[in-house]
Amino acid sequence: MATYTYEHTPDHGAKAGVLAYLATSAAVLLLMMVFGLLMRLEQAQWISIGADRFYELMTLHGAGMVGIAAIAGASVMWHFLRQYVDLSSRIFIANLVLFLAGVVMILGSVLIGHFHGAWTFLFPLPGKSMGMWSPGAAALFMGGLLVIGVGFLLLHLDIARAIVARYGNFARALGWPQLFGHDDGKAPPPTVVASAMVTIVNVIGLVVGASILTMMLVNLYVPGFDIDPLLAKGMIYFFGHIFINATIYMAVIAVYEILPRYTQRPWKSNKVFLASWTASTLMVMFIFPHHLLMDFAFPKWMLVMGHVIGYLNTVPILVVTGYGALMIVYRSGIRWDMASKLLFLSLFGWAAGAMPAFIDGTITVNYVMHNTLWVPGHFHTYLLLGMVTMVFGFMYYLGKPDHEADDRLLDRIAFWLFTSSVLGFTLSFLYSGKESVARRYAAHLPEWVPYDRIGAVFAMLVIASSLLFIVRFFSRIGLARHDYQRAPVARAATA
C-alpha cells in the first residue's frame, strides 16, 4: 500500500489576476445578493416592484451568481494549479476580460432591453416574449453568455495544454495508472486530479452550450429554422448543470490545499479518491435529466438515467471529500481560524445542500416538490453554504496577516452570524417547499408570505455577514500578494 507523508509546500501569495477575479466575484456577489433580497422582499410584500422587474432581477440574479461562482472557482483552481503546471497569465486575464464583456452585454439586455427569460433561456421563450422584450435584447443576453463561454473555453484549453505538458495526458492527470494498476503513491495531487476533471467536463459542456446558443440565435432572427424544444432543453441543462457543478469542483481545491497546511497531514490521492473523481467525471455529464423528471415527453431511459445517476453522483466526491476532511482534522490539533472554519463549514454546506437534491431526484417526490421552493432551497444551500463559503475561506486565507494572527471578535461573530443566517435563509426555502409554496411568482398566496418574511430577514443577515467578509478581504488585499506562511502549525505537529 502506498504511503503518503505531508510535505510542506511553499505558501505563495496570489497573482494580481487571482485577486482581480476575487475582487470581481466579491463585488458581483454582493450586488446579486441585494437583487436576491429584493426578490424575497417582493414576495414578503414589504416592497412592490412588480412581476416584470421581479423576473428581470431573477434573470440577473441567476446569470450573475452562476457567472461569479465560475469566476471565483476558476481563481481558486488557477491559484493552486499553477504550483504544479505552467499556466498562461494572459489567457487567465483574457477570460476575465471576456467575462466582463459578457456581463456588460447581459446587464444591457436586462436593464435596458428588459429581457427577463431567466438565466436558463429555455427555448422558445427568448424568441416569444409577447412584446415584453425585443429580439435584440434576447440576442444580447445569449450573445453575452456565448462571450463568457468563449472565455472559459480558452481558460480550459490552456489548463489542458499545461496538464498535458506536465503529465503527458489526462489519463495520468486523473491518476488512472494508480487507480487501475499498482498504487505507488505517485498519483498527481488532488488539485491536478480535480482540475483535469473540471477541464474535461467543462469543455464538453461549453461546446454543447455554444451549439444550442448559436442555434437559438439563428432561430431568433429566422424562426423558420425550427428547433426541437425538448432537444434544446436537454442541451441547455446539459451545459448549465455541468457548468454550475464544476464551480464547486474547482472551489473544493481550496479545501484540498489549505486544510493539509493547517493539520500538517497530506490529502491522499489514493485509489478511493481517484476512483471517486473518475466516476464523477462521467456521472456529472449524465446527471442533468434529474431536473427534467416532470417532462413526461422526454425519453423514459433519460429520466431513469437521471434518477439513478442522481443518486449515485451524490456519493463519490462528496463522501470522499467529507470523510477525508474529517480524517485530516481528527486529533490533528488544528488551530481553527476564519479560513479553516469556513473551509470546514463549506463541506457541511456541500453535504447538506446535496441532500435536498438527492431527495428531489426521486421521481415520486419530484412530481410534488420540483416546482416548489424546495429546489431553490437545495441550490442555495449547496452554493451559498458550500461553494461561496469555500471562496470566503480562500479569501481569509490569502489575507491572513501571519500564521499566528488571531481572528478579530467581529469576524468571529460574523462567522456564526453567517452560518446561522444562511441556515435560516435556506431552511425558509426548504420549509416553503415542504409546504408546497410554488416557485413561480405569478400565483403567490397570502398564506405563504410569513415564510418569505422569515427568509427576507435571514437574507439581510447573510448580506451583512458577507459584507464584513468582503470588506475584510479588501482591507487585506495588499497582504494577499506576498509569500509567507499563513497556516498556524497544528498542536499535534508541535507536540
Binding site: R82, Q83, L153, V164, R172
Partner: protein, 202 residues
C-alpha cells in the same frame, strides 16, 4: 519542424498532384458532386487537405518565410475561416455546379486559401490555438448540420431535401466523432513524467 528528404517530398508532392487531378477529373467530379454529402463532406475537405499536406512538404524556411509575409498565424487562420465558411454556404455550392468559373475558383481557393494558410499557421498556434480552432470547427459543423436538418425548405437548388437531410445528419455525426477523437487523444500518449506530486514552483 522535421525535414523530409527531398526525394520523398517529391514523391508525396506528385501523389498529392495526382489526387488533385483525380478529383478534378470529370467522372470523379460528377460522382462526388452528385450528392450533397459527397460534395460537402468529401470533395471540399479533400481539396483543403491537399493544400494543407502540400504546404507541409515545403522546405521549413520557405514555410517560415511565407508565415512571416502573411503576418503570423492569426491572419492566416482568419483567411482560412472566411474561405471555408464561404464554401459552406448552399448558394456557393449551387454556383459551383452552375458556373465553371466558380468551380475553378473552388478548386483553387480551397487548397490555397484554406489548406495552405492552416498548414502555415498550425504549428505556431500552439495547443490552445489549435484546440480553439478544433472546438470552433466542431461546433460549426454540428450547428451547420443541425441547420440543414431544421431548415424549413430546400437550401440548394441543385440538391433535393433528402440530400440536405442526409448531409445534415452526416455533419452532426462527423462533429460528434471528431470531438470524441479530439478529446480521446488527450488521454493517450505523451512523455512519461518524473514525480507527479512535485511542486512546480512559482
Amino acid at each position: 519542424m522535421t525535414a523530409i528528404a527531398p526525394d520523398r517530398a517529391r514523391i508525396r508532392f506528385c501523389a498529392l498532384g495526382a489526387l488533385y487531378l483525380l478529383l478534378a477529373a470529370p467522372p470523379v467530379r460528377s460522382w462526388l458532386e452528385a450528392t450533397m454529402s459527397g460534395h460537402m463532406l468529401v470533395q471540399i475537405p479533400l481539396l483543403a487537405a491537399i493544400g494543407f499536406a502540400a504546404c507541409r512538404l515545403l522546405v521549413a524556411h520557405h514555410q517560415e518565410r511565407l508565415l512571416a509575409i502573411a503576418g503570423g498565424p492569426i491572419p492566416l487562420v482568419v483567411v482560412a475561416l472566411f474561405a471555408s465558411s464561404w464554401w459552406m454556404l448552399p448558394r456557393a455550392l449551387d454556383d459551383a455546379l452552375a458556373h465553371p468559373l466558380v468551380e475553378v475558383a473552388k478548386f483553387v481557393s480551397l487548397p490555397a486559401l484554406v489548406g495552405v494558410p492552416l498548414a502555415l499557421a498550425w504549428r505556431r498556434l500552439g495547443i490552445i490555438g489549435r484546440g480553439f480552432v478544433w472546438t470552433n470547427f466542431i461546433s460549426m459543423l454540428a450547428v451547420l448540420g443541425w441547420l440543414y436538418l431544421a431548415a424549413p425548405q430546400r437550401l440548394c437548388n441543385s440538391y433535393l431535401v433528402d440530400q440536405q437531410e442526409s448531409a445534415g445528419w452526416l455533419m452532426v455525426k462527423l462533429a460528434l466523432l471528431l470531438f470524441a477523437a479530439w478529446l480521446g487523444h488527450l488521454f493517450v500518449g505523451g512523455p512519461p513524467v518524473g514525480n507527479p506530486r512535485a511542486v512546480h514552483g512559482p
